[in-house]
């Protein structure tokens, strides 16, 4: 029995992998996403400079071999700051999405599973949260909590809760009536255990897809918050705040406002491509 189960699982992931492999763009996205994560983790080994190293005599250098993307107003290496900025962004995005996923996922799964008034209260409550545009909600929470990386992650994470709750509720609703859930009931398995052991693992596909897409969105929101002075504060390098502080010099020195934006854009493209590809691979019904 266990062997059968494992084999089925292996076949399933094999099938997904094969579908994924067929889409070359997704593979490219996957490689680039891994590269982004890699560069975030190993930032100190990639960069020749420290992100806070000032060298005022070499401020406003245009891109060269010495400084790949030039230097900013304090003579700090822009390339180094972008790599470290990616570290900041990815870390915050990961915390934010995990937070949204855990809170939203639990709410959605329990709402779908128990149904009735419980479900109604939760889902209508989340409808209310959804009536506020998500960036605006993040701005409101962030303004109240104050600046800082963790507060930024919490603000963005809370704003993603309703979306995750809805996605997981939708897939949990379809799982709830399957025979194996009934079988588990018949065997006397408790409700909470069924949710954690059967309902959530079987909703993994949409969770992975939405999670990937949300990481891209979260990175954009982090940059937006930092750009208007919430979110991450200097000297911590972050793409949005680099743009905000580079704006002063827009008239005379274009690299300072150009490269951080390109970094945001590339990251968003990578996660969008990967998310779309994963959706096609994990949920073939949508592809037809």
């Amino acid at each position: 029995m266990i062997d059968n189960c494992q084999m089925k699982k292996m076949n399933q992931s094999k099938e997904v992998w094969q579908r994924l492999r067929k889409n070359k763009l997704t593979i490219l996205g996957l490689i680039l996403a891994l590269l982004l994560v890699f560069s975030a983790i190993f930032a100190p080994f990639i960069c020749r400079y420290e992100y806070e190293d000032q060298d005022l005599r070499n401020a406003f250098q245009y891109p060269s071999f010495k400084h790949l993307l030039g230097t900013d107003n304090y003579g700090r290496d822009i390339f180094t700051r972008i790599i470290y900025g990616g570290r900041t962004s990815l870390l915050i995005a990961l915390i934010a999405v995990s937070l949204g996923l855990i809170v939203g996922g639990l709410l959605g799964a329990f709402a779908a599973y128990y149904g009735g008034i419980f479900e109604n209260v939760i889902m209508r409550g989340l409808d209310i949260v959804m009536a506020i545009p998500s960036l605006l909600l993040a701005v409101a929470i962030s303004a109240a909590l104050g600046v800082g990386m963790l507060n930024c992650a919490i603000a963005i994470g809370i704003a993603t809760v309703p979306m995750f709750a809805r996605v997981i509720r939708a897939s949990a609703l379809s799982i709830k009536d399957q025979e194996y859930i009934e079988a588990a009931h018949a065997c006397g398995v408790g409700n909470v255990k069924i949710i954690f052991k059967h309902v959530i693992p079987n909703s993994l596909a949409p969770i992975i897809v939405q999670g990937t897409l949300k990481i891209g969105e979260a990175i954009l929101q982090i940059a937006s918050l930092s750009f208007i002075g919430l979110g991450v504060q200097p000297p911590t390098p972050e793409w949005g705040s680099m743009l905000a502080f580079g704006r002063e010099f827009i008239r005379d020195f274009w690299p300072i406002v150009t490269f951080p934006g390109i970094a945001i854009m590339i990251t968003l493209i990578v996660f969008n491509v990967l998310g779309d590809g994963l959706r096609d691979a994990l949920d073939p019904r949508l592809k037809q």
Binding site: G125, P133, G229
Partner: protein, 328 residues
């Protein structure tokens, strides 16, 4: 139909009350004493207590919340700014038109460009045009609008000297902010239109139309697009909310005298009544816009319309709920 609109308006009331509650709670529990923000750090305890009493800040949470709601309902009072001492309502009303015009203008622009692009891409599937527009849409959808705004300023204002970079004085001032904020919607509308058209084009009734000998142009506009437009309208509603959020950030780039710059200033001074008022006001506008879009649906799609005109109200309300849930 009127019954449906009335019911939707009634549903809006608890949603908006909920929004007020959420935003009020967020600000209530935020650290920092408003009295200290107003009086400065050198205020005496007596002054602080006096101001607390004046502002009603010494009352329990629910009493304060009730007073806030009462102010809004009875005379649309959103409170007074801590910093400028002006009414938040009049600040917002002075700033809102610019933001709203930008949002509507850019959404209209995005619709006018995005739908034709998507239709052409779908009808010419797997040609160079299709690949090019799909590629551009991918890049466009991933472009931070505030950064694009900066790039447009560098190119068109600083280097070419063609367009002004800040303010909204003449029509030429509107061009750059509108373009910057509409790129993401254009990309998204193009993508949605393309995939929706591709789905519709393979349907039997399109084949029937073709075999009837209808002109291809007529088939596309009258039969295919009319059916493919529904998901596009959904996405336009979502994009409008996204655009409003994006404008909050973008406005600071172009120094637009709108809600975004108002909020940014309020954030830097911790002026909570203004922040609270702005978020509420935008949420209200978004609810109204969503209602309008839902009504538009019913006009465009007879299948949806027929659901609302059903006799049994219990049955039809269930259907509306289901439809909402399928959106994501």
């Amino acid at each position: 139909m009127i019954k449906y609109i009335l019911r939707r308006l009634l549903v809006m009331i608890p949603v908006l009350l909920g929004v007020v509650f959420i935003i009020f709670t967020i600000n209530y529990f935020s650290p920092g004493d408003p009295a200290l923000i107003i009086l400065g750090s050198e205020a005496t305890q007596a002054q602080i207590d006096q101001l607390h009493a004046d502002l009603g800040l010494d009352l329990p949470f629910f009493v304060q919340f009730f007073n806030y709601i009462k102010g809004i309902v009875t005379h649309l009072d959103l409170g007074t700014s801590y910093i400028t001492k002006t009414e938040v309502r009049s600040d917002i009303l002075a700033r809102f038109p610019s933001t709203f015009k930008l949002a509507i203008l850019s959404t209209a622009l995005a619709t006018l460009i995005g739908i034709p692009l998507g239709v052409i891409a779908a009808t010419k599937q797997t040609t160079l045009f299709d690949y090019a527009s799909t590629f551009l849409a991918l890049i466009g959808a991933s472009m931070p609008s505030f950064w694009l705004g900066l790039m447009l300023i560098i190119l068109f204002s600083l280097n070419l000297g063609l367009l002004p970079a800040s303010g909204l004085a003449t029509w030429r001032h509107w061009i750059l902010p509108t373009v910057a904020i509409s790129v993401v919607p254009i990309a998204n509308i193009t993508r949605t239109t393309r995939s929706s058209m591709l789905e519709v084009i393979r349907q039997d009734y399109i084949r029937t139309a073709r075999s009837k000998g209808l002109k291809e142009r007529k088939i596309i506009t009258k039969h295919a697009l009319a059916n493919a437009i529904i998901p596009v309208i959904t996405i336009i509603g979502i994009l409008l909310a996204f655009t409003m959020g994006g404008l909050i950030v973008l406005e600071t780039v172009f120094s637009v005298p709108g809600m975004g710059t108002l909020m940014k200033k309020a954030i830097s001074y911790k002026d909570y009544p203004t922040i609270q008022g702005c978020v509420l006001f935008i949420a209200l506008i978004m609810s109204v816009m969503n209602l309008l879009i839902d009504i538009l649906y019913a006009f465009i799609d007879p299948r949806i319309k027929s659901q609302y005109v059903k006799r049994n109200p219990k049955n039809s309300s269930k259907k509306i709920e289901n439809r909402g849930d399928n959106d994501d």
